[in-house]
């Protein structure tokens, strides 16, 4: 099996999102390109941009330097900025087979999306009145606004998917029955049955399931559960339930978790937000008894301590002897886990394991009934939205192969780039993670308005520019003359002499492009920039100059890292082209604009000690010096090119340029002709 080396973020993403690709587009300020890249694999970008568990961020190598890239926030920015655009896709094929999908959560939606795009006739059966599973009912609005979910589901349906709501398996239809009308059935009903600990008094009123509670809130069916709410658990559902209670006006909400903040599955950020809103947290405690008459009034807890790690790798909480304590409470919300609710499946003779999960062959979701597939939580138990989407995708692939008699299973051949070497980490400039703006705490009570407000343009650019462009760096082709110049000039010491050529370790290269600009054999190529990219940009810019016909045309190059949101100087003669570090500008690239008819070229100079790539500023100065010599030798005038650092520099440059007159190569011609 051939493997593909991908950046760690992409390798970690269950649906193989080209994170680097879309982050790079955002760094260029191109949200449309970013969303196009995201949507190649993900039909729920606005949803994932808000609630994804971001395995990508856990894998991000910038964490070795300072903090991981805020990838989820960037995905959200890309989708928010492009929500006015239509992304309806159409199937390329049309197959006769009809497929029934039971459940419209992330797994079912993803499978429906993929199968419909492949050309199958897909019908979704949803037990609830709304589509989306926990996306629509379960994740609170303040984290995931429902209009966003609705819009993305509508987009998916618009491929040509039929959806029936309010029909449930076992009650309104059976799998056997479906198989008469459909060529395949895909079960993606999730895992919605709450687990309760076996405690004395667990029959009392006021003891609720977290998931049921959140669903009922989303449906507007219930109001405040009590005045003193205890939430038991530490996952997203637990924290969501607690923060929901705060919004309902509950004065006293406490989350009780049996491990510590370090282990809490909801994550530190969620806990911090909950605490800001007034939720209290008690760690290392577990309920043992409920008491009260009819309704719960008091809960007895036992203190826990962390023992040896369990199979999940987390340290197992162990009760501390004689450590019981009581808390008053009139409502207890349990969010300690969920299992598939397969009661309704029993009559359909599907094999189910001890935990209630449907038994399948492997991640293709093939069950022991021909034509019936299952995936998502109903097979594996609860998983994240993105993992559920991935399982839907895998099953869709398996269903397609089943129908089309394609024998081979698809293998995940992705291999992540290795970690950054420690000496290199010390050479990489630190850059602060952009904090997302949030609704003020006082505005969060009594309202379910979205808390996170997203990045603004500047924040998105700055955050995207933190990306280390892993794997998009330099590669050496067969024209390498083995001069070893790259070894001598790399600011990070990455190239080494190989047997015949210089070797550049793609997992460590920082993609500054200095070696490529200096390679005498033009044998070094950057993954992040095509050979002809700049020439094309110059031509594009000259085209627009031709439309506007200013008296003189100056092309300016500036560094995005130094000026993230736009060029440093504005002038009607000036047409800017941005680069990820100007140190990568080759001499020939500084000459292109003159050949294309520009009268002058400037490079905005960055302070040497601020260069993202350490030596970029000194290299661009060297390249400018060399090109000035060529301009002098060819009698074009060395003063047509300059490094400038501010408005005043530019005024001086423009005066000298006016003395030289227009570019002699376009004498009598229009600009750029």
């Amino acid at each position: 099996m051939t493997t593909v080396l991908v950046p760690p973020c992409q390798a970690a993403c269950p649906i193989n999102t080209d994170v680097r690709g879309y982050v790079s587009a955002l760094a260029r300020g191109d949200a449309e390109e970013a969303i196009r890249i995201i949507r190649r694999v993900n039909p729920l970008p606005s949803v994932c941009g808000r609630i994804c568990t971001r395995l990508c961020e856990s894998a991000c190598r910038r964490a070795q330097v300072d903090a991981p890239l805020s990838i989820r926030a960037l995905k959200r920015y890309a989708s928010d900025q492009t929500k006015h655009l239509s992304f309806i896709r159409h199937p390329l094929n049309s197959y006769k087979e009809r497929i029934a999908i039971i459940g419209s959560g992330p797994t079912g939606l993803m499978a429906a999306h993929d199968l419909a795009l492949l050309g199958y006739k897909v019908t979704i059966f949803e037990a609830q009145q709304v589509l989306g599973g926990l996306l629509s009912e379960g994740i609170p609005k303040y984290r995931l606004p429902k209009d966003i979910v609705r819009k993305e589901i509508e987009d998916i349906l618009s491929i040509g998917i039929e959806a029936r709501t309010g029909v449930s398996l076992g009650k309104d239809f059976t799998i056997e029955g479906l198989l008469k009308d459909y060529h395949a059935v895909f079960i993606a009903v999730g895992s919605q049955k709450s687990l309760y600990p076996k405690c004395k008094g667990d029959y009392l009123r006021g003891i609720l399931s977290g998931f049921e509670f959140l669903k009922q809130i989303d449906r507007g069916e219930i109001s405040l559960p009590g005045q003193k709410v205890l939430v038991v658990g530490g996952g997203h559902t637990a924290v969501d339930a607690a923060r929901t209670c705060i919004r309902l006006g509950c004065p006293n909400v406490t989350v009780v978790y049996r491990r510590t903040l370090d282990e809490i599955p909801a994550g530190r950020e969620e806990v911090e937000q909950a605490e800001l809103e007034g939720v209290k947290f008690i760690y290392l405690a577990s309920p043992v008894e409920f008491s009260g008459e009819e309704r719960v009034r008091r809960v007895r807890f036992v203190r826990m301590e962390l023992g040896e790690p369990d199979i999940s790798g987390r340290r197992r909480p162990v009760p501390v002897k004689d450590s019981e304590f009581d808390l008053e409470s009139d409502a207890v919300i349990f969010a300690i886990g969920y299992v598939p609710d397969v009661e309704n499946l029993k009559e359909d003779s599907l094999k189910v394991d001890r935990k209630g999960s449907i038994i399948v062959k492997d991640d293709t979701g093939i069950t022991d009934i021909k034509g019936v597939f299952a995936a998502g939580d109903v097979v594996t138990g609860p998983m994240s939205v993105i993992e559920a989407m991935a399982s839907g995708r895998k099953a869709a692939g398996a269903i397609h192969r089943y129908f089309r008699n394609i024998p081979d299973k698809e293998f995940d051949n992705r291999v992540s780039l290795r970690s950054l070497d420690e000496p290199l980490v010390k050479l990489i400039r630190k850059s602060e993670r952009q904090e997302m703006r949030a609704l003020p705490v006082e505005s969060r009570k009594n309202t379910f308005d979205e808390v996170d407000l997203g990045y603004d343009r500047e924040q998105a650019c700055r955050e995207a520019l933190r990306c280390l462009n892993c794997g998009a760096g330099a590669s050496v082709d067969e024209h390498c003359a083995a001069c070893l110049n790259c070894l001598r000039i790399c600011p990070f010491g990455i190239p080494v002499p190989g047997k015949e050529n210089a070797d550049i370790d793609i997992s460590q290269c920082q993609a500054c492009g200095i070696c490529a600009a200096e390679c005498p054999a033009s044998a070094i190529h950057l993954g992040s920039e095509g050979k002809e990219d700049l020439r094309q940009e110059v031509e594009r810019v000259m085209d627009s100059a031709r439309q506007e016909t200013p008296e003189i045309v100056v092309i300016g190059f500036y560094c995005r890292y130094h000026d993230p949101i736009g060029p440093p100087v504005e002038n009607d003669a000036l047409y800017w082209i941005a680069r990820f570090c100007t140190g990568r500008l080759k001499e020939s690239q500084l000459i292109y604009p003159f050949e294309a008819g520009a009268d002058g070229v400037i490079v905005s100079v960055c302070p040497a000690d601020e260069c993202r790539f350490r030596d970029g500023a000194s290299w661009v100065a060297e390249h400018v010096k060399r090109v000035k010599r060529i301009l002098k030798e060819t009698e074009m005038g060395a003063d047509r090119l300059a490094l400038i650092s501010d408005e005043e520099d530019f005024r001086g440059f423009r005066q000298r340029l006016e003395t030289l007159g227009i570019n002699p190569l376009r004498k009598g011609k229009k600009v750029g002709a």
Binding site: H479, A481, A482, C483, L484, N485, R488, I489, C519, P520, A521, S522, A523, K586, E587, S588, I591, Y592, F594, E595, I630, E633, T634, E635, M636, P664, L665
Partner: protein, 217 residues
Amino acid sequence: MIVAEIKPFEEIMNMVRDRKKVLILGCGSCVSVCMSGGEKQVELLASALRMASNKEGNQITVGEKTILRQCDPEFVQQIQDDFAHYDAVLSMACGAGVQGITQWMKNVLVFPAMNTRFIGLSDGQGKWVEICAACGDCVLGLTGGICPVTSCPKGILNGPCGGNKKGKCEVSPDVPCAWVRIYERMKELGRLDELKKEIGAKDWSKKQRPGRYAIKE
């Protein structure tokens, strides 16, 4: 390695001024390594030629090509069809490349874009130093690996002249005396005794031009 540098632009311009179609031919070996005649420099020279010619009102077609070596006929022949499209070739190889094309490509007019300087050694990023005069009668085995023929401006063989001042040559204070270096090196190697032996007169007949060498006698 052969070190060459690009000629002053005006000189190049004067060679090809009247040509309408010029092929700039880079060499992927020594001159790429010394960063003067590889693909990158071909591109730059092409731009410069186009700009200078256009400025003078001459429309010139400039082709760009780089081959692995210009000193072997087989590599040059690989692009023989390309030559037909041009009035002249501007070779960015060392003198060997220019003359190779002259010999092997009968109807091709070749001009040198380079001045071939010396056989050199890398002396840090972007720097090279002459190290071997190709005298044909190597004495490095007797001098601790330091060549008096190249490193001594006078090329003397049997010990220093009287012009050594504090280890520097009288020709230039920037040039270390080759024989002081040889002495120090032989001392380090514990071979000082061997310096007492005369090298004797050098056999300059080995340097007779044109030099020839063949594997088979």
